[in-house]
Amino acid sequence: MPFMHGSMPLRRTFFYLQQGKVKLRDNVNVFSMGFHKNPTPEQSGARDFVYWNWAQLQYHNPKVQLVKHADKVVTPFARAYLNDGREVLFDLDGMKREEIEKLLAKTLGKTELVERREHLESIAKLNPADFGSKNERQCMCEVQGQHPCTGLLRAPQCVTGKYRWNHNLI
């Protein structure tokens, strides 16, 4: 019953996770953020960003390690570590949550062209002949003309493994 109240039903959905706009570049390895759990008005933007957008950020960047530094420093900050060892430091003092999101997407996010190219590459990888639990088609019996699953309709003896390879010894 408490799940129906407040922000929890909003934040705990796949639809909400997919709404995230920040897709970090491939060379960002670690992203850390310093915020306060009881913020002053200048620090509340970072706190709101962590509350609302942290899960979205991790969902869209599964290979980036996200680290929180709660109540550690005075000024809220965000710091990204790149592949070659460089750091990108953001001062988030006095910023709103939407401004932080735009700043991250603008500075460290992928451009629209890169996103489109990656989307097209992922489309090109699809093969309609594949089937299995990780593909669009779960089972071969979905194809028209194929034999249904043997749980539904018994298969003739000549195509069963028991007959073909075990010679019906059991």
Binding site: T13, W54, Q58, Q65, F77
Partner: protein, 160 residues
């Protein structure tokens, strides 16, 4: 239905940030090594929530950069330069020193969620800012406090 509701983390281990939990020496040369505890988020598909899970990595620390409690950045090293099979990383830099937190934005030292130089300034100015308003006995506490705060702000602006 999977056996568990947790999606395993897919965070790459090339560069990681973690906290040093143990320091030891390995081998005949007694090379210093640090055990670094790195937190990664794992997704629970039932609750649709990320939970932080810690993984321990051993990292080379040839120059003894870090101490126990420091937050460090570790980098993966290739197999030929590993002194031991389970030491897979090397300490690259110290991000936050334990007991000596420095604000990365302003570069000022932090003590108990306050800048250390502000505490020093208050200590120096305690006689001028706090004691003088006490001489005027008719003021209430709030007025006295407001006067003290105003004087402290003036001294701060004068010092900058």
């Amino acid at each position: 239905m999977p056996k568990t509701s947790v999606w395993k983390t897919r965070v790459g281990t090339q560069i990681l940030m973690g906290k040093i939990t143990d320091i030891t020496q390995i081998g005949i040369d007694r090379i210093p090594c640090a055990q670094v505890r790195c937190q990664m988020n794992e997704f629970n598909i039932y609750l649709k929530k990320y939970f932080a899970r810690s993984f321990d990595f051993w990292a080379l620390d040839k120059t003894s950069l870090g101490n126990i409690g420091d937050t460090v950045l570790i980098k993966q090293i290739d197999g030929s330069s590993r002194p031991k099979a389970n030491v897979s990383h090397a300490v690259d830099r110290v991000v936050f020193k334990f007991g000596n937190i420095v604000d990365p934005v302003t570069g000022r030292k932090i003590f108990n969620d306050t800048f250390a130089d502000e505490i020093d300034l208050k200590k120096v100015l305690v006689e001028e800012v706090v004691d003088k308003p006490l001489e005027e006995e008719s003021m209430l506490f709030e007025e006295r406090r407001a006067l003290q705060i105003r004087r402290l702000e003036q001294e701060k602006e004068a010092n900058v």
